[in-house]
């Protein structure tokens, strides 16, 4: 084993130079820790990257909208000073209708009600009271997503987090609503509130986005509430940085660099080093050792704790729990280069800058999920679309555009055939679906590319290609993310912390995970009086 010359002066090694790894590193460096980030690939950013699809057409390769991005992270890391320019933030969601009667969800109660009126005057009237009720019910979760739950039963900490009720008195009204969310499906929840299929479709879409659950699966109502909570007051909402997702990483890397973080590319960690039961650093694939009293991993929890040699330091039950941690991705990404601006029926130029969703009803989503359960993808895929070149001129030449689409419910493993053969078919299905909303779109396509979950696994390095670092389901959320007792970024191995998307609250470039992990590291150091 060779020793790195930089060994003696490292306080913290961060494994993985994805967004959360970099954020965690930058926060720690701002607190005067000497931090080294080791990244296996030849670039930073993980799933956040901008790629050239075809000459003159650049697009966020995988993750296309960042966030809901926590405002405090942008401010503390001075990302704007380091070049971050948001060409869109607090992006609205437009639920597309083939006949042009789109529904707009932009936080403006009047807009939404107006767009609902042609569908259902009843729903238009019901929107504002619903919004008020829902916000009230979800309110406590806005604070909940901000700090990791769990650990020892800290009644004091808990009651300060939720001052509205004491922890000792179960069954309060608030609880009943939350319990409904926990146990209920988003379909049941929405069916009881609204009658417009398109409205219910888009709201159900947002609830299941990023989980391998259907709209009628129990617990999806809570996922919808979680998403709303992430999009709360502390957030910039969904954003697009000028230059795409890669530009966000560039700004982040500059901020980290300015704070003193050293980054090492092409440095795959082979195993963790231990000193007794404490972590003592990492050993790279080339045999080089980097010694440090603290290691923070942004890899998914399963890979971190089960594949890097920490297994013998874990209780047996925990190993079983982690081994059954779900990481299979279920979303693919299709990128299109366009020779002109497509015409969506009834959609003005301004609205094309927003987040467009194709999910006409819960039944539509349910059919796509039924195909997923059988190891197929639906011929009628549910899509989240952005056309970032409408507000970011740096991505494509004048009058040219790039369109980016998440395709829900695409299995990691197909039941028959493989992805190599199925990719063309998937692009064709996405094209055919888009044609129903923008008839001229297929004729504008210059080039197309698709990233399936196995591609995302390869490119971004995340196991299973799940950009949440683990499926978003009730048994992998909150106090159970990634396992009971591990939800506060700590692990049973002293000095080893988790900071990736697989920690509380979830992935999706919120910045919260990296920030909270850094706080956990600093708090741990205070508790132990070192380093």
């Amino acid at each position: 084993m060779r020793s790195s010359p930089a060994n003696s002066d490292v306080d913290v090694v961060v494994i993985g130079g994805g967004v959360n790894g970099l954020i965690c590193a930058a926060y720690l460096a701002q607190s005067k820790r000497r931090v080294v980030v080791v990244e296996a690939l030849d670039r930073l950013g993980g799933a956040c990257a901008t790629a050239e699809l075809v000459a003159g057409h650049r697009v966020s390769a995988i993750t296309h909208l960042l966030g809901p991005l926590d405002a405090s992270v942008v401010k503390t890391l001075r990302l704007q000073r380091f070049g971050l320019q948001l060409t869109a933030k607090q992006m609205a969601t437009v639920a597309l209708s083939p006949d042009g009667r789109h529904i707009v969800l932009d936080g403006d109660l009047r807009h939404t009600a107006q767009s609902l009126t042609p569908h259902s005057p009843l729903d238009a009237k019901a929107w504002a009271p619903f919004d008020a009720r829902y916000r009230k019910a979800v309110g406590p979760l806005e604070r909940w997503v901000q700090s990791p739950p769990g650990g020892p039963l800290e009644h004091a900490a808990r009651s300060s987090l939720f001052p509205t009720r004491s922890a000792a008195r179960p069954g309060a009204v608030l609880d009943a609503e939350l319990a409904d969310f926990l146990g209920g499906s988003i379909a049941d929840f929405l069916d009881a509130e609204f009658e417009t299929p398109l409205l219910k479709g888009v709201m159900a879409f947002d609830a299941v986005l990023g989980s391998a659950l259907g709209p009628r699966s129990q617990g999806t109502a809570f996922l919808g509430a979680l998403r709303s909570a992430l999009d709360g007051e502390a957030s910039e909402g969904l954003v697009h940085p000028q230059g795409g997702a890669g530009a966000f990483v560039t700004a982040l890397a500059k901020s980290a660099d300015a704070a003193g973080v050293r980054t090492r590319l092409k440095s795959r960690v082979a195993r963790l080093l231990f000193d007794g039961d404490r972590v003592a650093g990492v050993e790279l694939a080339n045999g080089e050792a980097i010694h440090a009293p603290v290691v923070v991993s942004s890899l998914d929890p399963k890979s971190t704790l089960l594949t890097l040699g920490a297994g013998r330091h874990l209780p047996f039950g925990l190993k079983r729990t982690l081994a059954s941690w779900r990481t299979d991705g279920c979303i693919s990404k299709v990128n299109l280069a366009l020779s002109g601006i497509p015409t969506f029926k009834g959609l003005d130029r301004r609205s094309m800058r927003e987040r467009l969703v194709i999910c006409p009803s819960i039944e539509y989503l349910d059919r796509a999920f039924a195909a997923y359960e059988q190891g197929k993808f639906s011929p009628d895929p549910a899509l989240e679309i952005t056309i970032p070149s409408t507000h970011d001129a740096s991505l494509a030449a004048a009058n040219h555009h790039v369109l980016s689409a998440y395709v829900l419910y695409t299995p990691y493993t197909l039941a028959s055939g493989g992805w190599d053969k199925a990719k063309t078919d998937l692009i064709a299905r996405v094209g055919a679906t888009l044609r129903q909303y923008a008839p001229d779109l297929p004729d504008l396509i210059l080039a197309a590319d698709v990233f399936t979950p196995p591609d995302i696994e390869r490119l971004a390095g995340g196991k299973g290609g799940h950009w949440h670092g683990g499926d978003l389901t009730l048994d992998q959320l909150g106090p159970l993310r990634p396992a009971s007792g591990l939800s506060r970024h700590e692990t049973p191995v002293a000095g080893l912390f988790l900071c990736g998307a697989g920690t509380h609250p979830c992935g999706g470039v919120t910045g919260i995970n990296g920030r909270n992990a850094a706080e956990a590291v600093l708090a741990g150091a205070v508790a132990q009086g070192a380093p």
């Binding site: 179960p170 939350l178 319990a179 259907g214 999920f369 359960e373």
Partner: protein, 488 residues
């Protein structure tokens, strides 16, 4: 036109309906049960009879010939081998050990975890769970909110063992084993299986048919109770939101201040007349599960590779190559209201009583995730033939000589909706488990919802047929404590 005045009318001779009727009759109320089918229709044929101990005691059912028996063994067959869960824990461990010694070791801990999850308790509130999640009561709730697949993956290595457990948990429901929240079904199936004496449920000899007969015999014993077969209720009559009685399809009327119905909630709303405001609808699109059973008459004992004849003829439930992956795919087909190409099948053999010279066998075949209504329409004609062909083909794939043993086939119970638990029911069960105001069985007290004054719905999409809903309804009406265990 006949006009009768009663204290209560019970619609449907379901187990729950009969339990409620018997308890009301025992308390001196005049009560009539109306059942659409004739007395000769074998309701519940081929199904297990499971009764809660509380119900059996409250009704002195053992006086009416009811006998408790050990639960049947449950076998999974795959690749020419069989894994059997016996009522006896040692035998079960030995069988599992042949597949995975580690899993055999883990079985006790797994059973203990389920037992803790199924226990009735006042657990944490949803908020407390969200903010802590660690420790005993929290684990109970985590278990219920987790998925069957994840819980089993955590506990065991062997796919066949996981498949045997998972298929038992989702049987008769529309829930996927991969869905979060399905963990509650694992707890429920364990409880109903009556493996341990304190689970509160017991199997009865003779199955659901015998259980029903005991309840009918008990009702006969009371002068103030009556059961009318081939009598269909067509309307539930209310005036100003207060129940007045029921109208029968033959034009007759029964007046009563109380109506207890075991029809599906949607059907009750359709039948309800004379309320001022329309009762609340849940507005959901339900994909109901069909409780259909295929009854095959076999001329010779079939040979299932790996499963000995003694186990097969012991009344064991035999699961055909069960696995979580197979169940998940079948659930996908079910969501499309289609038949899965690889059906998930439970088989049960019983000797046919008779005076014939030749020994014949009845084989009851149940398919999990059979939609009540197919995407091509209701179960009829060639769709029924296709169902039978599909089942036989799937069994033949495991036991090549099986098809040759079949002498006759018929399909029981297709299109019934009286005894199923659908996904909405599972969701409701979970919502209550999450709330943890009650444990699993007591939940039913809260859901015996009153649409209008005097109407009690024994929601068949939520209840099983073990008497809990009936006992709760009767207690609520009689002013007793609405708790299943109150009499125990």
């Amino acid at each position: 036109m006949a006009l009768e005045r009663l204290d209560a009318v019970v619609i449907g001779a379901s187990i729950e309906g009969l339990v409620a009727a018997a308890l009301l009759a025992k308390a001196g109320r005049t009560v009539t049960v109306v059942e659409r089918e004739s007395a000769s229709v074998p309701l519940g044929a081929g199904r297990d009879g499971i009764i809660s101990v509380a119900t059996a005691r409250a009704l002195d059912l053992t006086e009416f010939g009811l006998r408790f028996v050990a639960p049947p063994p449950v076998a999974g067959i795959s690749g020419g081998r069989a894994l059997v869960l016996w009522p006896d824990a040692h035998a079960t461990r030995a069988s599992i050990a042949a597949f995975s010694p580690r899993d055999a070791e883990a079985t006790d801990a797994f059973q203990a975890r389920i037992a803790r999850a199924a226990v009735r308790n006042d657990g944490p509130s949803a908020l407390a769970w969200l903010t802590s999640g660690a420790g005993e009561p929290y684990d109970r709730m985590s278990f219920r909110l987790s998925s069957i697949a994840r819980i089993l993956d955590e506990a065991f290595d062997n796919d066949l063992l996981k498949g045997v457990w998972a298929q038992g948990a989702v049987a008769g429901t529309g829930a996927s084993p991969a869905a979060t929240g399905s963990g509650v079904l694992l707890a429920r199936s364990w409880m109903l299986a009556g493996v341990t004496p304190d689970s509160g449920y017991r199997f009865v000899a003779g199955g659901q048919t015998r259980l029903r007969q005991a309840l009918l015999d008990q009702l006969k014993h009371y002068n103030n109770a009556d059961v009318r077969f081939a009598t269909e209720a067509s309307e539930i009559v209310a005036e100003r939101d207060v129940i007045q009685g029921v109208t029968l399809a033959d034009g007759g009327t029964m007046r009563a201040p109380i109506v207890i119905s075991s029809l599906a909630p949607g059907r009750n709303r359709e039948m309800l007349t004379g309320f001022r405001r329309p009762p609340p609808t849940d507005g959901t699109t339900r994909i109901n599960v069909s409780p259909a059973l295929i009854k095959l008459t076999l001329g010779t004992l079939p040979d299932f590779p790996g499963l000995d004849a003694a186990t097969l003829t012991s009344g064991a439930i035999v699961r055909l190559d069960p696995s979580i992956a197979r169940l998940t795919r079948a659930h996908g087909a079910f969501s499309e209201r289609a038949l899965a190409p690889e059906p998930c099948i439970d088989m049960r053999l019983s000797p046919r009583a008779g005076t014939e010279n030749k020994q014949r066998w009845d084989m009851f075949v149940a398919m999990t995730y059979l939609p009540l209504m197919t995407n091509e329409g209701p179960w009829a004609g060639n769709r029924r033939d296709r169902l039978r062909t599909l089942c036989v083909r799937a069994i033949n794939a495991m036991a090549p000589s099986f098809g040759a043993t079949i002498e006759a086939a018929e399909i029981l119970h297709p299109g019934e909706s009286e005894t199923v638990m659908d996904p909405k029911g599972v969701t409701a069960l979970n919502a209550m488990a999450a709330l943890d105001l009650t444990g699993v069985p007591e939940y039913r007290a809260a859901s015996a919802d009153q649409l209008v004054k005097g109407l009690t719905v024994l929601d068949p999409s939520i209840y099983a047929s073990e008497g809990d809903a009936g006992i709760l309804a009767a207690h609520a009406i009689l002013g007793g404590r609405a708790k299943a265990g109150a009499d125990a």
